[in-house]
Symmetry: C2
Subunit: 334 residues, 2 copies
């Protein structure tokens, strides 16, 4: 098949927020023949992730940075058009790291089939995708959630936070969410959060003291900065602080200050622990099964904010993530 793909390439590493100089968007011909084990995929949806900002920095991290001149790394879902492996057949719906492109040839590594009877494609990038896995293993394994815990989630209306919070609720825990804006907070209450704090017009530190007078047992932090500090100041003894992300600092061109209140870890005999969801790869099926069951019995609402614009809409859609335009998972429709 002769295919002209349109892809977004990394042209230049950004300082601060990515802008038009960061990207080059161009068409290119895909090879007409697949090699052994390859598949040709038509991409339908792309995942927009806070982690993408980190992948643009030329520093040692949990994955290599995207190189200048490479297609921007992205998870996506789509349809197999051609296959040179017995693992996939044309017509299969799949999920994988296809990059910011409308057509991709993949060697099949990390590609998994998705079942549209369970949920639509965008959900496989959200609650049933990497964000869902992140919420599940972060809360249960890293956070060691216990019955009766008071749980705090920052960026609670986001893709990861909304899953983590609802899983904690399903366990019967008291759950407090922090989000930006009345609308997001109203949604959190609607899906069962006990408290929703709007950081844009409430004082998070003192509000936490009110709503969690006995302190927080598990703090699942996606944000960093002053919100991390506010949580640290309100821990319960033996608390677990799960370091999932720090979206408030990702576009800071300097090294942002760390949590001033980290000595709370000593006062409260608490721990702060980081993780990378890829380490749980072998256990994804367990999480997918659990989350799918929660979706199907109504105890977990999977929500996505789908934006249009196709491949060429990627630069703007990515900025939307840092402006907090999304409730639930932010997905770009191709």
């Amino acid at each position: 098949m002769s295919i002209t793909a349109t892809s977004v390439y990394l042209a230049q590493r950004p300082e601060g927020l990515p802008d038009e100089s960061t990207w080059e968007i161009r068409q290119h011909e895909l090879p007409t023949e697949l090699n052994e084990s390859e598949i040709l995929v038509k991409v339908n949806y792309l995942s927009l992730d806070p982690a993408m900002r980190g992948w643009l920095n030329d520093v040692r991290s949990y994955v290599p940075p995207v190189q200048i001149g490479e297609i921007m790394r992205a998870l996506g879902t789509g349809e197999v058009l051609e296959s040179n492996t017995p693992n996939f057949s044309p017509g299969d719906r799949v999920q994988g790291l296809f990059g910011v492109t409308d057509y991709a040839i993949s060697d099949g590594r990390g590609v998994t089939g998705i079942d549209l009877d369970v949920a639509a494609e965008p959900t496989w990038l959200g609650a049933l995708g990497m964000p869902g896995m992140t919420g599940y293993f972060g809360l249960l394994d890293v956070g060691e959630l216990q019955d009766g815990d008071t749980v705090l989630i920052s960026a609670a209306a986001g893709a990861v936070g909304s899953v983590a919070g609802q899983l904690a609720k399903a366990r019967g825990c008291r759950v407090i969410g922090i989000a930006g804006g009345e609308e997001k907070c109203a949604w959190l209450t609607e899906i069962g959060f006990d408290e929703a704090i709007n950081y844009k017009n409430e004082k998070v530190l003192s509000r936490l003291r009110e709503v969690a007078p006995d302190g927080i047992n598990v703090f699942f932090d996606n944000v960093g900065g002053t919100i991390l500090d506010a949580g640290l100041a309100n821990l319960a003894r033996g608390a677990r602080v799960v370091i999932c992300g720090a979206i408030s600092t990702y576009n800071d061109p300097t090294l942002a200050p760390g949590p001033s209140r980290y000595m709370s870890l000593l006062v409260f005999r608490a721990r702060m622990q980081g993780f990378v969801v890829f380490d749980y790869r072998d256990r994804y099926p367990e999480a997918v099964e659990a989350i799918a069951a929660h979706i199907s019995n109504g105890s977990l609402v999977a929500r996505e904010t789908v934006v249009g614009g196709g491949v060429r809409g990627f630069p703007e859609a990515l900025l939307g993530l840092f402006q907090g335009v999304n409730t639930g998972k932010l997905v770009l429709e191709i």
Copy 2:
């Protein structure tokens, strides 16, 4: 017995370093009769601890602050002069929270006997006292030391650090110490540390990269600030960062910035955990026995810096701690 004691009282909470306005030193008569279960102790040595600075702040912490008008809290060793309890007899040597005073009446709570055949009194405030317990449980329990670990200790020539480092060496681990000054570093090498970094004239971050190219598995931090950050930047995967103290920040009248590199916890799947040694109270005998055995077979050198001056020398002696005058445990002779 009619006793006139001299004691140091907290007169005013300091901002920054304590000064002469912080303390009031005066004589007072002790009651002539002991109540049920009380003992009268002649204090011989007082422990000078970085934690003392925290006890002066009127904030919620792991122990209540010292109140204005109270005798300053301090651990000490001494001799029982009179006893109204079968637990102690006149002539017994004891250790306890007697306060900054030369004579104390104690209700016996937290007072334990010490054996001068095992070690002299100052050692019972150092390697066999709270600092030793702190090094032992911090390294083994909180740090979960494993065979083959590379261990980093900050304030390594101090009371806690020197015990923690030597325990790690005794376990066969590779141990790197950070200390201030050539003399302290020379001593660290003498007692078996594999590397000693003088933070006063070496770049800690880049030196760590050289001496621990595969990263640090356990980082026992007593210091905070830029040294904590340098360690965080050089962790190994799955590292444990033990938060024991933050002496670099204790006299900062504002809330000092936290560790900018805390996101290393995510990159390295590491954890940072605080603890308070008092929680291990029931297991002190285990640690005393282990450390005493190491002292006796020569695998652990217990060192103290004893300063004179008696009770009235306390204010100056305490400042010496923050200037780093001590190698090993800083003790005030009464």
